[in-house]
Every structure is written in C-alpha cells, then in structure tokens.
C-alpha cells in the first residue's frame, strides 16, 4: 500500500480529477495549500529586469513567495502507483516550473471506518 501525495496547480484540479477517475481512482483527499519550490524565476520578469525596468527588478527581490496550490492525497495498491503517477503527470505537465511535485510514501495499514475492514479490502 502506498500513499501518493501530489501538489498541483489550482486551475488543473478539474482535469486532474477527471484523469484520476479515468485511471480508476475514485477515492482521494484534496486540500488547499500554499507552497514554494526551488525558487525558479519567471524568465519574462528576468528579461525585464535586465532591460532596466524597475518594476521587474523589484519583483526579483521577492524571495520565498508562496503560491496557491492543491494538495491531493491518494492511497493505492503498490502495483497501481505507476498508473496514478503517469495520469497525474500527463494532465499537469506544462513544462514550466511550478507544475508541482508527486511524493510516494509507504503506508502501514488502512481501515475503513464504516465496516472496520483493514488492509487491501479497505481501499479496493
């Protein structure tokens, strides 16, 4: 059993939900979050600063700004992780910095509250 934590762009949420449904993932948990990455700089702003525009130069000094993102948590079977990751990447990839990250964590056990079933039964 693995936990897939994906951080994606807010406006990609609908496509991501659709893609996950098509991939066969019905259950997931989403949360609004703010985050920052390695601190990539917008190339347009950088070009503006090099051309001597003060507004652009002042934007570059704004280090560590947090951008709104969506945090999705999915718990799936081991064999299914690659499918989920591929479907998330396929819809969220624009090629520009800020597309997000996907983390895979091991999960010990899961319990369905309604019936008390644990293990694989609870997530399938």
């Amino acid at each position: 059993m693995k936990e897939v934590i994906a951080i994606v762009r807010m406006n990609m949420m609908n496509q991501t939900k659709k893609a996950l449904t098509e991939a066969g993932v019905d259950a997931f948990f989403a949360h609004e979050a703010n985050g920052r990455g390695k601190g990539f700089i917008n190339p347009q702003v950088l070009a503006g600063a090099e051309d001597g525009f003060e507004e652009a130069a002042s934007l570059l000094g704004e280090k560590g700004k947090l951008y709104p993102k969506r945090l999705i948590t999915i718990v799936v079977e081991d064999d299914f992780v690659d499918t989920v990751v591929a479907s998330i990447i396929s819809v969220n990839k624009t090629g520009k910095p800020g597309d997000g990250k996907i983390f895979i964590l091991p999960i010990g056990d899961a319990v369905r509250v309604r019936t008390g079933e644990s293990g694989m039964k609870s997530i399938s």
Partner: protein, 115 residues
Amino acid sequence: MMIMIRAIIRPEKADAVLAALMDAGFPAVTRYSVAGRGKQRGIKIGEITYDEIPKTMLISVIKAEDKEYVINTIMNTARTGTKGAFGDGKIFISDVECAYTISSGIKEGAAEVAA
C-alpha cells in the same frame, strides 16, 4: 533516500520558519492551515476551553542526510523564548520512496532505493 518532514507550528511563527528554511538552503516548502490539540487537551482561558487551536502545517521533502539540520532549524525558530512553551508544535518524519517533478517528469530517489 528522502524523508518528508511535517511540522505543526504556531501560525505566527510560520513566516519566521519559512525565512529560516530559505536561508538554510531548503526553499521548497508547502504550507496549509490546520486546527488541533495536543497532550494539554487544548487551552483553558477563564471559563472557556478551546480544544481546537489553529496551527500551521509545513511540509518539506528533503534528503535523509539533511534531516538533523532541518529539524534543528525548524525547532530553534519555532520555539517560544529560549525554553519553549506548550503549543509550540510537533515535527513528524516519514520516509519518501520517490518524488516526481511534474514539469520535467524526472523521478528522484529510485536509484537510492535500488542501491
């Protein structure tokens, strides 16, 4: 090997911790607001008991060898005063098997796991 650090801290300390992490060279962080209580069963002010106290959750995935340094950075910044106080928060560590960067599709951590 990579690890995920989940730190639950005071909301008013969040900006200081984010700045400290940036200076320490760990810029990548995700933040969201949570509410919760700890061992002290909330806080009692006069007649009123608050059993859900607002906190901020910070998530960061880092290399395992940087663990102590990052934890110390967060702890020293998030602590109230020099001794600390109840409600300063908790830090949880969990293993991360691999991480994907969506923009490039690059997978990290698989090589270390295999080795």
